[in-house]
């Protein structure tokens, strides 16, 4: 189980490298697999471990991308720090094993969409805010946030389908 998750995360890194090097969808879209990687961290782990893993993964993603070092790490730590709260308000702990990460097949598509929407929003609000730091018009940041969420949430669904469908 653990090995499979590590393999998934490595695969996400490979996807992130491909996305950074070959996918350029303009200034409004940021394809990022880090929030999905953070969601793959087992929910049963303590917050401290989740935070450290999110920070480490964030730094690695920052190093892989051309952006500012620390941006993904800051957003990832914020997402990991609020993840327990997000789990509590979107999916019930009864729906998945404590040591596992919640996936679409365990909690259902609606709850998973709620989870992805809230956790990804936290991540990308932090990312877009720190990336622009008020130097861009608010409408630009808002559009960027909405379009980025619109791209990354379906991507998370696709990844769930690809990773978890066979193991139901």
């Amino acid at each position: 189980m653990k090995l499979r998750r590590i393999l998934y995360i490595i695969l996400m890194f490979l996807l992130q490298i491909v996305a950074n090097d070959y996918i350029n969808l303009g200034p409004y879209v940021y394809v990022c697999f880090l929030p999905m990687m953070i969601l793959l961290v087992p929910a049963g782990r303590s917050s401290i471990q989740s935070l450290l893993i999110a920070f480490g993964l964030g730094i690695l993603v920052d190093l892989l991308s051309d952006g500012v070092l620390g941006l993904n790490a800051a957003a990832g730590v914020l997402m990991a720090g609020t993840l327990n709260f997000v789990f509590n308000v979107t999916v019930s702990r009864d729906n998945y094993e404590g040591d596992d990460c919640p996936n679409m097949y365990d909690v259902g598509i609606v709850k998973y969409l709620r989870l992805a929407l809230l956790s990804f929003s936290i991540y990308f609000i932090a990312y877009v805010f720190l990336d622009g730091m008020g130097s861009r018009p608010f409408l630009f940041d808002l559009t960027r946030l909405i379009v980025t969420l619109a791209v990354n949430i379906p991507l998370a669904i696709l990844i769930n389908v690809a990773f978890f469908r066979r193991h139901r």
Binding site: S46, V68, A73
Partner: protein, 277 residues
């Protein structure tokens, strides 16, 4: 079990803050835009706290400010009376006409603008102050700044609403000072140690002062009017057999500065033009 859970939550909170701070430090160190914005916001926050801290400090030092103002008032009144007496002794009958505002218009060499200190450092080698008056109020570079107890510094940078003052407590600042008892003058500077002491150099040996003599501004400057009391003579020592280094106990307490006056030399342009020739 509950205790352990609470401890873990506290540790997680600390780890969260530490990791966020580390991330933001990385961002600040790796991008000019983020650095400018984040550092700018932090400076804004710092100024807000300083400003309010100064207000609080000012509130608690109102008694002393009142005493200082009363003393200054009394001094000015005495000075006016002295002039009146002097004029009367010259046998001029109508002194009121002579002192009417119309007759005094344009005669003043120096004019003063009241300002409030919103930031003041005293613990560095190059100290500075920020005043609540700027270019919008007519503040310009190189204007002197004084208070009721002596000189404070000079304006070295001006923004629209604020001015940055290089404090006299700056190892690279000097002011021309003279010992009022014998008119011997020399450059007075701060040695970077005690905030209540300064040193006048280049005083001739034959102009040895008495301990307690008053030291005032010489007026050999475009920034400060002559005769502003600066302090009293403390110790002195002979340097190279021909000059004296005189220690001055300053009147100015830089730790409790709040109200200051920005000095405008109305003939500065004319003097500068003349010096350039």
């Amino acid at each position: 079990m509950d205790k352990r859970s609470t401890s873990l939550k506290i540790i997680a909170g600390v780890v969260f803050i530490v990791l966020e701070v580390v991330s933001i430090v990385l961002i600040v160190n790796n991008s000019i835009i983020q650095r400018t914005r984040i550092v700018g916001n932090l400076r804004g926050l710092q100024t807000f706290f300083w400003k309010n801290g100064e207000h609080l400090k000012y509130y608690f030092s109102l008694q002393k400010t009142n005493d200082d103002l009363a003393a200054e008032n009394a001094g000015l009144k005495n000075e006016v009376e002295g002039y009146r007496g002097y004029l009367e002794s010259l046998d001029i009958n109508n002194t009121d006409t002579l002192f009417s505002p119309d007759s005094m218009k344009g005669a003043a060499i120096y004019s003063y603008m009241q300002a409030t200190v919103i930031l003041n450092t005293v613990n560095k080698q190059h100290n500075y102050l920020v005043l609540n008056k700027g270019a919008k109020d007519g503040v310009k570079l190189d204007m002197g700044v004084i208070s009721t107890n002596g000189i404070v510094g000079f304006v070295s940078s001006v923004s629209e609403h604020y001015s940055y003052v290089t404090s006299f407590l700056n190892t690279s600042s000097t002011v021309s000072a003279k010992i009022s008892s014998n008119d011997a003058f020399g450059p007075m500077s701060w040695d970077g140690k005690d905030t209540d002491r300064a040193t006048i150099k280049e005083i001739p040996v034959n102009a040895t002062p008495e301990k307690g003599d008053t030291v005032v501004t010489s007026g050999y400057s475009l920034m400060y009017p002559p005769g502003i009391p600066l302090g009293t003579v403390g110790e002195w020592k002979i340097v190279n057999g021909e000059q004296l280094n005189v220690t001055v106990d300053l009147f100015q307490n830089f730790n409790s500065l709040h109200l200051v006056k920005i000095v405008t030399n109305n003939r500065r342009k004319e003097l500068k033009k003349l010096i350039k020739r």
